[in-house]
Amino acid sequence: MSDLEVNVTINGKAFRRRIEPRLLLSDFIRHDIGLTGTHVGCENGVCGACTILLDGLATRACCTLAVQADGRTIETVESLGRANNLNALQRGFWEMHGLQCGYCTPGMLMLMTELLRENPNPDRETIRARLNDNICRCTGYEDIVNSVARAVELMRSGQAAR
């Protein structure tokens, strides 16, 4: 099958590429675009390390074809705050030890970005319910729940940018 043209907006920037139809969105983002913050863990949609936002919805990039993103908008971890200017969610993870090896973290951050847009004031049960979508092998999750709760506080008090 011949290559297809895709036009996507990633983190606010427009990209036009000719790609193989079978190319996975995770590989497209990481290797073709060079945004390596999105990680690949299980490769079949179980762990969620590859979670990105596709038109605002948390999506497994490892189970999505890049051509399916044609004409759509993607947000990755690189769209959040930079290392020297973390946003509220990232700041919450830093303050509450919501990560250890950092490999699942980009997927967790994007999953929780979606949650906080839907519900800027989730309680712990709501956070836990959404966290069940993704796997972290290091933390035991509890500190991730604390991190998101801390981010909610930071946003509410205006101490850090959304």
Partner: protein, 826 residues
């Protein structure tokens, strides 16, 4: 023979920094140095390495558990556009030797199977192509003619395998890799005079670290210099990295191994010889850099790092007062197809084989067998987590058989706080501890009596609520003797397991610490920064951390065996002492004061008793770097301000005999876990109602990251207890090769909160009294959770001797209990 008990004349230590001093940085909840880059998606993991003109490799995996390779036709694969090379085992054998092996005699393993495949997933060919997609397409075009051989899947049957079912005929006529008998102390005598003997058969199924990031390597080969550069997410490159050069048949100075951030390991990336050799071999053949990253199926089927897989027959001897006197066990351990660490996981267990108890004698009969499965490697605990399970299960069996109280029985048998340093029958030493203290803290935190009342109330409502208890050791800081002390002929009997740190203070007073081991998901940068900030009184923000490759690396062993925090603390302390000496000498000239009259005060060096007479570290650093002619012509004042220090094991001795292994794992942490669970007897589902985890890892550098380890390790231990198992069928097929059916714990499988208590019993042997904490949770949660489930189902008489306790298994046990005892659920 080692006599168990308090050591009257303890070995001298080399501790310079006493635990009881006032500390400013150590012990604080400093946020991690590592985090901002990870949070911004700027980690540098192995698949993030991109080199110009890089090709990509994929492995063709064996579909057979055991087969001869008659022939391989690679023509169709090679003809596929974009394919660079197809490398078979025979091709690889022309350029590479066997992979490194710590067992002696070694068991030969090739990066690509040569002549025979011995487990499903073993690489049969490596395909190099312009893209990974093409490489995988080409793999499907390689035609392999296999002659299937009898596959061995059952560990007991392996003992009697003969003929074509033998995996390594050059080692003998069967699949017994090793069969050893160890006697530590008067085992027979104690059993002969025992008032009670408690027996159980226990089963610990194989699981694995399964980090979210698989193993991988990116290698390049420079035809001009003849040098390889290998990026890899493994750990021990500054320790035994040279053996990768040996496998590549090149001198070690022609291989530079470069560390990257590792996306978790839990032991499974301790030493990544296979992926390193595959990528480097492919780079030399392809003439371009090559990336080889395991996919998840490669990692599950062929990571070389499955965990222990054991069946125990255990006996515990007790006297008439219910004091445990001796432990005797026969264990069969299914090592899979190869034997990279030999019996290391059992030697590790010998470091704490009596747990926290005053057991005087231990007898161990070990069978290590080969089967057609992925070989064992390291998995958070390195075998000692299974030893802990065995000990706590037989302790609970004694409680059940003799109708004892689980709390009082443990307490009565603990080594007392005044009995340290304590030598156990295997010869290892426990440096310090307070086991009753940990137990008391756990009981109080849990509100044990309150939960017992709630349990009673629940039972009257037909609910099955149970309270678990496990008191376990967490050995820390291995000595290298454990790698070979169980070999019949030790082979390369190394005794060093050092760790180094290098510190450079630049002309403006900012510091860079170079570590000689990688970031593995632990917190090496945070720990090293905190220790240096403590030592020099400088702002942690003025310290950055780099990782030395093997070209620049000093002796380092890396994270593993709950050693790194202890060891890097020692290394940074040692290097800082050298820096401080020079700072004082230079400052002495600047202040016209004698070195003995100077003191460090908060990032400055000043004259004692003379406030204001001081210079900043930055001023001294500028002087040291750029104003040589202002200083005396003293060889100790050469330009610059840097130091390196290699910290050796703080307390180790040589093995004396097969009944006394000497001191090899003495920095002894301890933990007491008390979960409360509710079991749904209809479905076999286990739900956590509460969980208390008391840990004692001595002085904590950073309580926040210790808590993180406790919670994460506990989650992994709960996975081991309830979910995780590599399931092979009778033909050696692995039935669960994805995370869809190899289940990792999700938040819903875990307690709502793990409530952590810290007891601090500092080590008298390490700097600041630090002990290891990395493996702990996984080393105690399995017996704690199982005891809770058993306690919940006590009205039904359910006994649990095997993990994982999946819902299906639990339902089977409940059904059996109902059938045999005529008990009916309410």
């Amino acid at each position: 023979m080692a006599q168990a008990g308090k050591i009257q004349s303890p070995p001298p230590g080399r501790q310079r920094e006493r635990p009881e001093q006032r500390l400013n940085v150590i012990g604080t909840r400093m946020l991690r140095k590592e985090d901002p880059r990870f949070l911004a998606g700027r980690g540098r993991f192995i698949d993030d390495i991109m080199l110009p003109n890089m090709a990509h490799a994929a492995a063709l995996r064996s579909p057979h558990a055991h087969a001869r390779i008659r022939s391989i036709d690679k023509s169709a694969a090679q003809a596929l556009p974009g394919v660079v090379a197809v490398i078979t085992g025979e091709d690889a054998a022309k350029e590479t030797g066997p992979l490194p092996c710590f067992a002696n005699p070694p068991v030969e393993q090739r990066a690509i199977a040569l002549g025979k495949v011995r487990h499903v997933g073993e690489p049969v060919a490596l395909i190099v192509a312009e893209t990974r997609y093409i490489a995988e397409d080409a793999a499907a075009l390689v035609k392999v003619d296999y002659q299937p051989l009898p596959a061995v899947s059952d560990m007991v049957a392996a003992i009697d395998s003969r003929g074509d079912a033998v995996l390594h005929p050059e080692r003998g006529p069967d699949n017994v890799a090793e069969h050893r008998n160890y006697v530590f102390g008067p085992v027979e005598e104690e059993f002969a005079r025992a008032a009670h003997i408690v027996k159980r058969r226990l089963r610990w199924s194989r699981s694995g670290g399964q980090p979210l990031e698989t193993a991988g390597a990116v290698a390049s080969f420079d035809d001009g210099s003849g040098k390889f550069v290998i990026y890899v997410n493994g750990s021990m490159y500054n320790y035994v990295g040279f053996t990768i050069a040996t496998a590549l048949k090149v001198p070690s100075h022609l291989v530079n191994i470069v560390p990257v951030d590792a996306g978790g390991s839990f032991g499974s990336k301790l030493f990544l010889h296979k992926v390193s050799v595959l990528a480097a071999l492919a780079a030399r053949i392809a003439g371009s850099p090559v990336k080889y990253i395991e996919d998840r199926i490669d990692n599950i089927t062929a990571s070389d790092n499955h965990g222990s897989d054991r069946t125990y027959d255990v006996e515990l001897a007790l006297d008439a007062d219910h004091r445990m006197t001796a432990l005797r066990y026969k264990v069969v351990d299914d090592y899979g197809a190869y034997f990279q660490y030999g019996l290391g996981t059992h030697g590790n267990g010998f470091s704490q084989t009596v747990g926290p108890y005053k057991i005087r004698a231990v007898g161990a009969e070990l069978y290590a067998v080969f089967t057609n499965k992925c070989q064992q490697g390291a998995c958070r605990g390195f075998g000692s987590e299974v030893t802990n399970f065995m000990i706590e299960r037989i302790v609970d069996a004694a409680v059940e058989d003799l109708k004892l109280d689980p709390v009082a029985f443990r307490r009565d048998n603990f080594i007392r706080p005044d009995e340290f340093p304590y030598q156990i029958p295997t010869g290892n030493l426990y440096d310090s501890g307070n086991y009753p203290g940990a137990l008391d803290m756990a009981l109080e935190m849990l509100d044990y009596e309150g939960w017992r009342q709630k349990q009673q109330a629940a039972r009257t409502q037909g609910r099955y609520v149970g309270i678990g208890l496990a008191s376990c050791q967490e050995k820390g800081v291995f000595s290298a003797t454990e790698f070979w002390m169980l070999n019949r002929d030790p082979g390369f009997a190394l005794t060093s397991s050092p760790e180094s740190a290098s510190i450079k203070i630049d002309p403006t007073g900012k510091a860079v610490i170079s570590l000689h081991a990688p970031c593995w998901g632990n917190s090496p940068e945070t720990v090293a920064t905190m220790v240096l900030a403590e030592q020099l009184g400088i702002d942690p923000a003025d310290i950055s951390v780099a990782y030395a490759d093997t070209d620049h690396g000093l002796p380092g062993t890396g994270p593993g065996g709950s050693r790194y925090t202890v060891m890097v603390t020692g290394a940074v302390t040692g290097a800082a002492a050298i820096i401080k000496g020079k700072l004082k000498r230079v400052a002495g000239h600047m202040l016209e004061a004698g070195v003995e009259d100077l003191e460090f005060r908060g990032g400055k060096i000043g004259v004692k008793g003379a406030p204001g007479m001081e210079v900043t570290i930055a001023e001294v650093a500028m002087q040291a770097h750029f104003f040589r002619l202002s200083l005396p012509d003293d060889p100790e004042l050469t330009s610059g301000l840097e130091a390196s220090y290699t910290y050796d094991h703080p307390l180790a001795t040589l093995p004396k005999s097969d009944s006394d292994f000497g001191i090899f794992y003495p920095i002894m942490g301890h933990m007491c876990h008390m979960p409360v669970v509710e079991v749904d007897a209809e479905t076999g589902q286990v739900t956590f109602l509460d969980y208390v985890a008391v840990h004692d890892c001595g002085t904590m550098i950073n309580p926040m990251t210790v808590d993180g380890h406790v919670r994460g390790g506990t989650a992994q231990g709960i996975g081991t207890a309830l979910l995780e198992e590599f399931r092979y069928d009778g033909t050696g097929q692995l039935l669960n090769t994805s995370f869809q059916d190899y289940l990792l714990p999700r938040i819903g499988n875990l307690p709502p909160a793990v409530r952590i208590g810290h007891l601090v019993t500092p080590s008298p042997y390490t700097e600041y009294g630090v002990k290891g904490a990395g493996e702990g949770g996984r080393m105690v949660a399995p017996p704690a959770v199982v005891s809770a489930i058993e306690d919940a189902l006590r009205p039904l008489g359910v006994r649990i001797d095997a993990v994982p306790v999946t819902p299906a298994r639990l339902r089977t046990l409940i059904r059996e209990a109902e059938a045999t005892r005529g008990v009916r659920r309410r």
